[in-house]
């Protein structure tokens, strides 16, 4: 607290009389603490004045805008678990220009369900110098995305690993190697086809005997 008390504020606001003002300035010349406090008050006042110099909105300045309330709600929602219906697409940057209001019938959608839809256009609202409205939600989703990525990478690794192991393990033959029993097969065929069971089909007959010519019918 300064030595001048409320008079310091009055001094900064230019509300003191002539004599009072001279006395206050004399004190400021001698008191560094009050001088510093007066400087801070002036800077604050200057900043507030600069805010008031911005172009007025559509006459709704007197009341908090819907956008302001929405952003306040979003700050609260950011601390809660994300809804499962939240889209997984990349978050829209706070500085990204919004789509034209005509393309988005914001009034037809509840602000709580689709906050971004109710965001007014930049021309219809004061310049937003505050931090992005949904940084906490973005951080929460950004934390969950690596988790999903890890899950996908793990599943792919498991699939590829299992496939590789299966391919390597399946290299050998499953059934035993067999050799046809030609002699036995020949006998079996002869008995079913009416041939002699003594023919040795795998040995070329060395005896090429002339065959009696069958009579022509």
């Amino acid at each position: 607290m300064s030595c001048l008390g409320e008079r310091l504020t009055a001094l900064v606001d230019g509300e003191l009389g002539h004599e009072e003002r001279d006395r206050a300035l004399a004190h400021l010349a001698a008191c560094a603490r009050c001088r510093t406090e007066a400087d801070e008050l002036r800077r604050l006042k200057s900043r507030l004045r600069s805010l008031s110099d911005l172009p007025p909105s559509d006459g709704a300045d007197a009341l908090p805008s819907a956008d302001f309330l929405t952003r306040l709600r979003s700050l609260g929602e950011a601390a809660e678990p994300e809804e499962t219906t939240q889209p997984t697409r990349p978050l829209r940057s706070a500085n990204r220009p919004a789509r034209p209001a005509a393309a988005r019938p914001a009034a037809a959608r509840p602000a709580a369900v689709r906050p971004a839809a109710t965001r007014p256009t930049p021309a219809a609202r004061p310049r937003d110098n505050r931090p992005a409205a949904r940084p906490a939600a973005a951080v929460g989703q950004a934390r969950r995305q690596p988790r999903r990525r890890y899950l996908a990478v793990g599943a792919a690794t498991l699939f590829l690993g299992l496939g590789t192991v299966s391919y390597v393990a399946g290299g050998g033959q499953e059934a035993p190697t067999v050799t046809p029993a030609f002699d036995r097969f020949a006998v079996e065929h002869a008995l079913t086809s009416g041939d002699s069971p003594l023919t040795d089909p795998l040995t070329d007959p060395g005896e090429q005997i002339p065959v009696q010519a069958p009579p022509e019918p």
């Binding site: 299992l162 496939g163 192991v165 299966s166 391919y167 390597v168 393990a169 399946g170 290299g171 033959q173 499953e174 059934a175 035993p176 190697t177 067999v178 050799t179 046809p180 029993a181 030609f182 097969f185 020949a186 006998v187 079996e188 065929h189 002869a190 008995l191 079913t192 086809s193 009416g194 041939d195 002699s196 069971p197 003594l198 023919t199 040795d200 089909p201 795998l202 040995t203 070329d204 007959p205 005896e207 090429q208 005997i209 065959v211 009696q212 069958p214 009579p215 022509e216 019918p217």
Partner: protein, 384 residues
């Protein structure tokens, strides 16, 4: 909408209805075409007009082969583009006992009548006769003579009228003396029969030879009651695998993954399947079109290629077939964990086509992957 309906009612057929009618007609046509294709040779069946007397003669040959005692020398000759191969064997049949075979290389075999698959050496089963009359036109041909004996000739003709097979049946006893298999070009493919034969009398007149050939001209022969002697001499009993598979057992085999086709190229139909009584991973599938007999032996396992060094290896449509054309035609292929051995008296092309038709391996990558996955599963399965 009203305007559209008015236009439709005005005379132009409704486009949607017309389209649906077209689809319906097309579908019915396709269904009929598919049904005709599945029915196989239905048209052929209708075209066949077999001579009942010719069919009766062939059926009678089955009984004659069991009933008539005979002795003689039988041959099997096959023709290929490169050479002619012949095998001969002495044969003696005693009704009620069996048939005794003795080869020139002193190989001996004895086939008891009780274990004969069908009517002795030349018999037809009802199944093969049905296939014969279904696929061919069976007619009588002018009589002839075989081994000095008068014979009735039956000819099986293709739908185009060309001969596909001929049978010479002894006029007196009905025994089949000779038969031939003829390809579409008119060339003989295989022939079997007697080069010399003596037919003994029926049971009542045993010992009295009524053969056409003079006994003095006949070569030295084994007495009719020689089988007992033959068995005593160490003839090996030649019997079929005893476990004949019925329809349910074949269905079970198919369910277990065994390839058991019901038909094969060339109108070959499965008419018999059997396996050894002792089991084993082998099944003998017998196919026929009524004339040609094709045996397919299916074994569970993989083929050892080194065994086929002296076989001709052919690769067609990514299918490797080992073939050998000797007295009979062999073709061996493998696929899906099974080995197929095809044996036939029909032309080599038939054996090759059958071996190539049988199930082949799937995609090697996926087959190997699946096999490995099953193995890994069995490793980690505590109950496996």
């Amino acid at each position: 909408m009203t305007g559209t309906n008015a236009t439709v009612r005005g005379g132009r057929p409704p486009r949607g209805r017309s389209r649906w009618s077209g689809v319906l007609v097309g579908g019915l046509t396709a269904a009929l075409a598919i049904a005709a294709a599945l029915a196989g040779d239905t048209g052929t069946v209708r075209r066949v007009r077999s001579d009942p007397e010719a069919v009766r003669l062939l059926r009678a040959a089955t009984g004659a082969a069991q009933r008539v005692p005979y002795e003689g020398r039988r041959f099997l000759t096959t023709w290929s583009s490169r050479r002619t191969s012949t095998s001969t064997v002495r044969v003696t049949h005693t009704p009620g006992d069996g048939t005794y075979y003795q080869s020139d290389s002193d190989g001996r075999a004895y086939q008891p009548d009780a274990a004969a698959f069908w009517g002795g050496s030349y018999g037809f089963t009802s199944e093969t006769l049905t296939l014969l009359t279904r696929n061919y036109t069976v007619v009588r041909a002018p009589d002839a003579a075989v081994c000095g004996r008068p014979a009735q000739v039956v000819e099986a003709r293709r739908p185009d009228g060309s001969p596909a097979g001929r049978f010479w049946l002894d006029t007196e006893t009905g025994l089949m003396l000779h038969r031939e298999l003829i390809d579409a070009a008119g060339h003989r493919v295989a022939a079997t029969g007697f080069t010399e034969v003596n037919l003994a009398a029926e049971r009542g007149g045993r010992g009295t030879l009524r053969a056409g050939r003079s006994p003095t001209k006949a070569p030295a022969r084994t007495p009719v009651d020689a089988p007992a002697k033959g068995i005593a001499d160490g003839a090996v009993p030649a019997t079929l695998w005893a476990d004949r598979l019925d329809g349910a057992e074949l269905a079970e085999l198919r369910d277990n993954g065994w390839p058991v086709p019901r038909s094969l190229p060339g109108r070959l139909k499965l008419y018999d399947a059997r396996r050894p009584q002792s089991g084993g991973d082998v099944v003998h599938l017998s196919y026929s079109d009524g004339l040609a007999a094709v045996s397919v032996f299916v074994q569970h396992g993989n083929l050892d290629d080194r065994r086929f060094g002296d076989w001709q290896k052919t690769g067609k449509r990514d299918r490797t077939v080992f073939r050998r054309e000797a007295l009979q035609r062999w073709a061996v292929s493998a696929g899906n964990g099974y080995v197929y051995t095809v044996l036939t008296d029909a032309p080599q092309s038939t054996a090759d086509a059958v071996a190539r038709t049988l199930p082949r391996d799937g995609t090697p990558f996926w087959r190997r992957l699946g096999r490995g996955f099953r193995r890994v599963g069995s490793w980690i399965n505590p109950f496996g």
